[in-house]
Symmetry: C2
Subunit: 150 residues, 2 copies
DNA sequence: CACCTTAAGTTCGTGTGCGATTAAATCGTA
DNA sequence: TACGATTTAATCGCACACGAACTTAAGGTG
């Protein structure tokens, strides 16, 4: 195993890699919990977004989830097939599709699915919201930069 | 658009969602830079890991990248096809595959590919390493929890 | 109204992630 | 040494993420 040159950038110093690998770790932590419900992580946060605001358009939902319609459409169709939501064209604008939860979709919330992985983060009650805020700000700054602003 | 119930969990309070969406934002910020090189993000960090330590096994590389061989194998084959690395069985243990950079793979480092998105994060020089450390610790705690430890 | 432009979703192809299975090599132990 | 257990990659199928192209609907201008 040859040595790296002194100038070599270290993976451990990359913030992008920390975020990337933390995301993988979160997915692995959530998986055993979510698979008991037959949901993937993306399907789960889609349901959560609908708990927060029902009857959203695909585009509106995508804005909140940071996903394009080409990603959302198959997920929404899957959740519709599972009986958790309905999709219907907006009669006032047939281009848009309104997504709304079914009783089954709403009842997931009451089914004890208040996933709580706070303990697994190792963060204290004071640290948790600070971290959450900091990562959210980071995300918004990156999104701004990607749009060419800043 | 109906109102959410008071008890409804808000997406904006989820640390997992902050990480998830920050990862998407990072990918979008990196894409225009990396596609000039014809590399994806995962291919890029694989190259970085090999800059740091050349001649690694698939498993060893996977440990550093937090990826399994089922994910890495097609990526390594692609990078081999692009001429950036070689794959060969270890003569001392034919089960293992040694991955090593080619001159082309090493030269990517000199080609000014020291991607620097620090400014895009909006973090100060003092904040950046703190954030990087905090997210790394979070990732390690989550990984520990997912393994059933803790 | 006819025509062009814009907007919203869908479809398709590529590239990850990952669970499950397989193939091959090595190890351990009687 | 023979053989079952373990280790390491690779393969396969499924589910995202996303660029690009397509379809349909709405809006704007003459």
């Amino acid at each position: 195993m040859s040595q790296a040159r002194p100038s070599s950038p270290k993976l451990a110093d990359f913030l992008c890699f920390a975020i990337y690998s933390a995301n993988l770790a979160y997915g692995r932590a959530y998986k055993p919990i979510l698979e008991k419900l037959g949901l993937t992580y993306t399907q789960y946060i889609t349901i959560v977004a609908l708990w927060e605001n029902d009857n959203q358009t695909v585009g509106g939902l995508g804005e909140k989830l940071f996903l394009e319609s080409n990603t959302l459409t198959p997920i929404l169709k899957k959740l519709e097939a599972l009986g958790y939501l309905h999709r219907r064209r907006d009669p006032a604008d047939e281009r848009q599709v309104i997504v709304s939860l079914t009783d089954a979709g709403r009842s997931l919330r009451e089914k004890g699915l208040e996933l709580n992985l706070v303990k697994a983060t190792g963060l204290s009650v004071e640290e948790f919201p600070k971290m959450q805020k900091a990562v959210t700000t980071l995300r918004d700054n990156l999104a701004k930069a990607a749009r060419g602003v800043g």
